[in-house]
């Protein structure tokens, strides 16, 4: 909304007749007498029309500024005038330049840069910001920062992946953007900024646009955004639920719709510290977030990019509320990767971390499906996966849990161990398997023997069972074919059409 409002402003430049601004063709009528009331309430009504004629995405307005001239330095005006000068300077910085052509507007670009640096210096000072100043500042940030990113050609033009692979696209305007970001950080963290007034301008729409920027390909930009959003979260208590909700929406879209977003790691990092600040006992809302958002975030295939931050968030939850362990493990089992070994390694890593912290009751809740899965990992043909799973037995805490529940776990895990011992191709895995087997034997050799016997019996039965299954289906199909489907619809003859692949 703010953006739309602002976008109208350049046209008004002609009317701008406040003394300080005569030469700057830039936006705003603000000058020394800004009208704070023309802020959001007014925009809400005005809706969306009148976007500027050629809105750019990452491109720059073609309308080039005739020339901007530096304003007086801050030290040359009396204190009473400083805030007005601030507003003027900020307004001057609303002009944006075409950076794709490095030879264009060199002087003007430098004027803006100098002005931004002056502002940066001023914001660090201790003059209380007036409401018009806050408005101007937010507007300037919006004009400069809130842009729609250009399409990503790298993914579209992937002919064999031979050419310019991982070259992220950087906004050529970064030299200015960076100072604007620095300015915004300083501004928000400044003790001279009254959150009660500022929240009117740093509103939901502002935050949403800020969040949109997290999709930037430039890690420097995302880093700035991370700091800013974190500070906003810290300073504007009223916005906290909204920010959490808005970030969740980004996550949902990422997981369930597009699987593409550049800023997931940064957003999770912010959440990491948000979670560590949650009060105990945890609110239901936050637990839902764990279950509905953080756990499904394990699904996308780009998990590796943000895995560290994600697993930190999860571990924060578990630290706060150990009873969540079984929930988390169940979630991991639900999203367990089937074909992606790299992800499987990450899952195993996260699992081990949780198992180190888990208590006996929680462990017992999930141990059956858990060790069934671990058994599958042990049998993985990817030696790193098999190895990683077998390393669990090097962990005293986990071995302790297993030993306590060996009557349940050994029968589940033994077939996997035997299968490896017979024919795993990798020597390291083979040796580890034998060690684990020995460990069980030493743990309880009576149990081991009885399980082993049981396993041999079962193994012998396997082929009979599958024969039986086939037989059963055959009979069933027979029975089915004897009962032609009736109903008074003309029946499509599709009974056994689905191919049966064993």
């Amino acid at each position: 909304m703010l953006r739309q409002f602002l976008s109208k402003l350049p046209r008004k430049s002609g009317k701008s007749d406040s003394p300080e601004l005569t030469r700057s063709t830039s936006c705003t009528t603000a000058g020394s007498t800004p009208q704070p009331h023309r802020s959001n309430s007014l925009n809400l009504g005005s809706g969306r029309p009148c976007a500027p004629k050629r809105t750019s995405s990452a491109v720059f307005p073609a309308s080039v500024v005739a020339g901007i001239e530096p304003l007086l330095p801050f030290k040359d005006v009396p204190n009473s005038e400083k805030m007005n000068l601030f507003v003027s300077k900020v307004s001057l910085c609303c002009v944006t330049f075409d950076f794709t052509d490095p030879t264009k507007n060199l002087i003007e670009k430098d004027v803006k840069r100098q002005t931004l640096l002056e502002l940066l210096d001023f914001v660090s000072g201790s003059v209380r910001f007036s409401e018009p100043a806050i408005l101007a500042m937010c507007r300037m940030c919006a004009v400069n920062l809130f842009r729609v990113f250009p399409p990503n050609y790298r993914s579209a033009v992937s002919n064999g992946g031979e050419n310019d692979d991982d070259e992220p696209m950087f906004d050529p305007a970064w030299p200015h953007l960076q100072i604007v970001y620095d300015l915004l950080i300083k501004f928000i963290t400044s003790s001279c900024l009254d959150a009660k007034v500022a929240k009117k301008y740093i509103d939901h729409s502002f935050i949403l646009r800020l969040l949109d920027l997290f999709d930037s390909e430039d890690p420097r930009e995302r880093d700035c955004l991370k700091t800013i959003l974190h500070r906003v979260y810290g300073k504007f208590m009223v916005h906290r639920p909204f920010i959490r909700k808005a970030i969740s929406n980004i996550f949902y879209r990422f997981v369930f719709e597009i699987e593409r977003h550049n800023g997931i790691a940064e957003l999770l990092e912010i959440f990491g510290s948000i979670i560590s600040g949650f009060a105990l006992p945890l609110k239901e809302e936050h637990k839902i977030f764990l279950w509905r958002v953080l756990i499904p975030l394990h699904k996308p295939k780009s998990l590796g990019v943000y895995f560290q931050q994600l697993s930190y968030c999860v571990s924060q939850f578990i630290e706060k509320e150990p009873k969540l362990c079984s929930t988390v493990i169940r979630g991991l089992l639900k999203y367990w990767p089937i074909t992606n070994s790299q992800k499987e390694l990450m899952f195993l890593g996260e699992l081990e971390e949780i198992l180190e912290a888990i208590n006996m009751v929680e462990f017992q809740k999930v141990m059956v499906p858990l060790f069934w899965r671990i058994g599958c990992c042990i049998n993985s043909f990817h030696f790193q996966v098999a190895e990683r799973a077998l390393f669990f037995w090097n962990n005293d805490q986990i071995v302790n849990l297993i030993a306590h529940n060996r009557h349940v776990i050994l029968p589940i895990i033994l077939p996997a161990l035997e299968k490896n011992a017979q024919n795993h191709w990798n020597h390291a895995v083979l040796n580890l398997t034998i060690n684990v087997r020995k460990m069980f034997m030493e743990m309880d050799d009576q149990l081991f023997i009885s399980c082993h016997i049981h396993f041999k019996e079962e193994e012998a039965k396997v082929s009979i069972l599958s024969e039986k299954r086939k037989e059963a289906w055959k009979q069933l199909e027979n029975a089915a074919s004897l009962k032609p489907i009736a109903g008074n619809t003309a029946v499509l003859v599709t009974p056994l059409a689905t191919p049966i692949a064993y």
Binding site: M1, R3, Q4, S7, G47, R48, P49, A51, P52, K53, R54, T55, S56, S57, V59, A62, V148, P150, P151, V157, G160, S205, L208, K245, N249, Y252, R253, F256, E257, R292, P296, W372, R469, A472, W473, Q475, L476, E477, A479, A480, S481, K483, P484, I485, A486, G487, N488, T489, V491, L492, T494, P495, L496, T498, I500, A501, Y502
Partner: protein, 627 residues
Amino acid sequence: MSTVEEPLYPIALLIDELKNDDIQLRLNSIRRLSTIARALGEERTRKELIPFLSENNDDDDEVLLAMAEELGVFIPYVGGVEHARVLLAPLETLCTVEETCVRDKAVKSLCRIGSQMKENDLVDWFVPLVKRLAAGEWFTARVSACGLFHIAYPSAPEMLKTELRSIYSQLCQDDMPMVRRSAASNLGKFAATVENAHLKAEIMQIFNNLTQDDQDSVRLLAVEGFAALGKLLEPQDCVAHIIPVIVNFSQDKSWRVRYMVANQLYELCEAVGPQPTRTDLVPAYVRLLRDNEAEVRIAAAGKVTKFSQILSPEVATHHILPCVKELSSDSSQHVRSALASVIMGMAPVLGKDKRIQARGTNINYLLWDRTDRRFFHSVVVVITVVSMFMLDDATIEQLLPIYLSLLKDEFPDVRLNIISKLDQVNQVVGIDLLSQSLLPAIVELAEDRHWRVRLAIIEYIPLLASQLGVGFFDDKLGTLCMQWLQDKVYSIRDAAANNLMRLAEEFGRDWAMEHIIPQVLEMANSPHYLYRMTILRSISILAPVMGSEITCSKLLPVVVNASKDRVANIKFNVAKVLQSLVPIVDKSVVEKTIHPCLVELSEDSDVDVRYFANQGLQSINHATMSS
């Protein structure tokens, strides 16, 4: 099996299978739900199977997906349409799961069932389901609900219709962008079922809300619905209500939205007719053609011909042609490429003298930048098409240098493109003028360091052969074809073998006897076993072309000789080749030569050799038995 237990049996089997740890087994049993249902009979399917499935939905997404799909075609198994409603319950639960694929499939199946259900059943069962989903606590249910309204709405009584419309409008303002996106993308379908009177009022209002959404992903989807809505309305209403919004959209700050408009605009023009198009939409379109974002220009450029067709030639010449000229020297290759692929259609639109002018500019502009391959692909196509259209001397004069320079282009793709269109080029300028430049181009491509390029040129060799004739081929290309047999990359060697076969077909046996066979057989003694293997492969595909006599006299001895190779892989390939030769040669040869050789191989120390030798022997037995 006793008849007494049989009734209990099918469902027990299913339950048992669904408990299995092995997901493949669970999937298999779900895939055979229809069998179970048939065995159970309609009534028990309704009373036992379906309730069981409704409760059993805590499985892997893959299993749930299969279940959602199966249930969509389940009406016959529950006893026809009057019982269709029992299927709603399990699908309703599937509509609420997390995984998007499952939900989508469940919605699809529900639509399928709903469209067959009787009107009063729809009112009694389907509409309440839609309402429940729309009021779902979790967003997944609400997302699914949006896709069901167009089924529920038509048969609902007036009161209910009003309610449904208002529910939909709420969904369009949902808190979660996911729901709004779903509502926006389904609105077109829903609008198509709504009465005209409500379209202008309520549905337009809903659309207007969506157009002001703060998420560009929502607005984007609304654009699509808008174009659909435009077609439903009377032209004058469309002009009054839809066009202003679309024009507004065409200036949206998000390029994705503008891109969508660029893609949809033409359809809207069709709906409103030429007059409003000229006054209202041409400026918007021109703006899109000049958009700052290349992606938008690409979309717009792609529609330039269709758009011009609606307009009168003057308007097209006046407003569109200047843009086209700009675009043909656009800084983005993709824009030029999109333009190049449609620009030929402009010619008839513009009338004759404009056409010639356009042709001149196009060819020149298109040659503007020769660093881009995708672009050049289009250039080559376009130029060739141009020339087919207007065959005259001037064209040839203009084209020849272009072809020649393209043949020397630094990008292999460009050269390949010209070569791939050689038959067309031949029609236009004649091959003689080109052959001088052709050979160096081919040789260079044949030795390109990217194997895909080499592969591509090999695949064009038969085409070249047919266009250039034997004479040209013998001198220049023969050696290349042999060289490829010893390429480092398997695919190349394989393609080379196929190529030989196609050449033999093209030029005949005698030629092949002279120019292919001796060279190939010579390589049979290559020190590298992979090359020897390639020769075996070549023999096996050349044999059918060369016929029985040559096979027996020339090819077979080499194969038999190879059966004494020291590499096991060669030996089992010998077994395979021998098997493939059986149908080609005489029975006596099979008995005298092939059979003994296979017998020997079947006693080899290597297990694979024995396997394939035995397979060969079996097929011989088969052949003799059947004959």
